[in-house]
């Protein structure tokens, strides 16, 4: 495990980009690029990340970058993989990176197709739990009870889709979840995925100050609380072997989860939740946590 202080100082994402102040995605992205040593080709659909990447003729990223259509992220990346294979290039990682909307809603069929073919690419979904770039519209990754500009009074009525679970059903070589509040854990996971072959999937939960309605200074705090309360669980599945990582592993071994209300109350998007919804969310988080801990113990045994 890499220590925070030992993470490389070289920056591939340049300052003065278009990301909002306190952007969780920008923080995650910084470490994803560090882990790739800048040796990668990015395929990015419409998303906050396209905005962060910049407008022609200037780019805020020191790496090759393709802007692609919303549903075709994994398909384009598959084409890049085929192109590199034809050229005999083996020193570059092809990275498809999309938001939750571009992954869970719009890009899912291309991703599922690439995963089924086991195309040699790293797919990273940064999940800020709504279409943030266009002004906070709900996606199927938005949790129940969240207020967006396109949810009914009282918040979203449906639960969040478990995208990492869907990818697990594709039996990939590597699947992981991560959070920018733990850059060391994120860095290690991207690095591990980089050195593997076949389709690899990483799901990064990216706190979003304007969309989740919290102060810009609290991005890291909210990310940390999300893991402390079990709203986000850090794990990796390597060739089918499940294990909890980072703070989630520590909590499973030595501690217990904090009440989920700590997480719900630190953001404005969960405001005015009724007691029944809170209880439903708590039950779901608790059940899922027990399931993950059981799987982790099973692996340890």
């Amino acid at each position: 495990m890499t220590n925070l202080i030992d993470l490389p100082g070289e920056e591939y994402m340049l300052p003065g980009n278009r990301a909002c102040a306190g952007c969780g995605l920008a923080l995650a992205y910084r470490y994803i690029l560090k882990a790739l040593d800048g040796r990668a080709i990015m395929c990015v659909p419409a998303s906050c990340l396209t905005v962060l990447g910049g407008m022609y003729p200037v780019s805020s990223v020191r790496m090759p970058w393709l802007n692609v259509t919303f549903p075709s992220t994994a398909a384009t990346a598959s084409g890049v993989v085929a192109g590199l294979k034809a050229l005999g290039r083996k020193d570059v990682t092809v990275v498809a990176m999309a938001g939750d909307g571009g992954t869970v809603d719009i890009g899912i069929q291309a991703l599922s197709g690439a995963a089924e073919r086991n195309t040699d690419l790293l797919y990273i979904c940064y999940d800020n739990e709504a279409y943030m770039n266009t002004g906070v519209q709900r996606s199927s990754a938005t949790p129940k009870g969240v207020k967006t500009t396109t949810t009914p009074v009282g918040g979203k009525r449906e639960h969040k889709k478990d995208m990492a679970g869907i990818m697990e059903a594709h039996h990939l070589a590597y699947i992981a979840t991560a959070s920018p509040a733990f850059p060391d854990d994120l860095y290690d996971k991207v690095r591990k995925a980089r050195d593997m072959r076949g389709t690899r999937y990483i799901h990064v939960y990216a706190p979003c100050p304007p969309g989740w309605l919290f102060h810009t200074k609290d991005t890291v705090n909210v990310g940390r609380i999300s893991v402390e309360t079990g709203a986000v669980v850090l794990y990796e599945i390597e060739d089918g072997a499940f294990r909890l990582t980072g703070l989630s592993k520590e909590i499973a071994d030595f501690d217990e989860l904090k009440p989920l209300t700590t997480y719900l109350e630190c953001q404005g998007r969960f405001r005015d939740l009724d007691a029944a919804t809170i209880e439903e969310l708590e039950t779901r988080v608790a059940r899922r946590w027990d399931r993950y801990v059981a799987r982790d113990e099973e692996a340890d045994a």
Binding site: M13, A21, R30, T216
Partner: protein, 100 residues
Amino acid sequence: MGTRDCGHLSAMAAPAKGEAGETGRWRTMRPVVDHTKCTAAAADSLVCLRCWCYCPEAAIEKAVPIEIDLTYCKGCGICAEGCPSKAITMVPEVECEDGE
């Protein structure tokens, strides 16, 4: 810009700082560092550096003493929030001498 090494024009974008302009102008609060409290400055070595680590703008270099690039710092306040020795304070931009 947009010219390849071979001299041909191309539609390839070139990387540069400040793609969105001087984003420091977005700032309402300015991070001010008190180097007497900074752990890294006291040890004069690459220790702690949580500010560098958690800066979503990459506006702080991994170096001692730390320096925040105010041309691009958007003033989110994550560095001040995460500093274990409270060496960074957020000061309203209007109260700074050269503030706007």
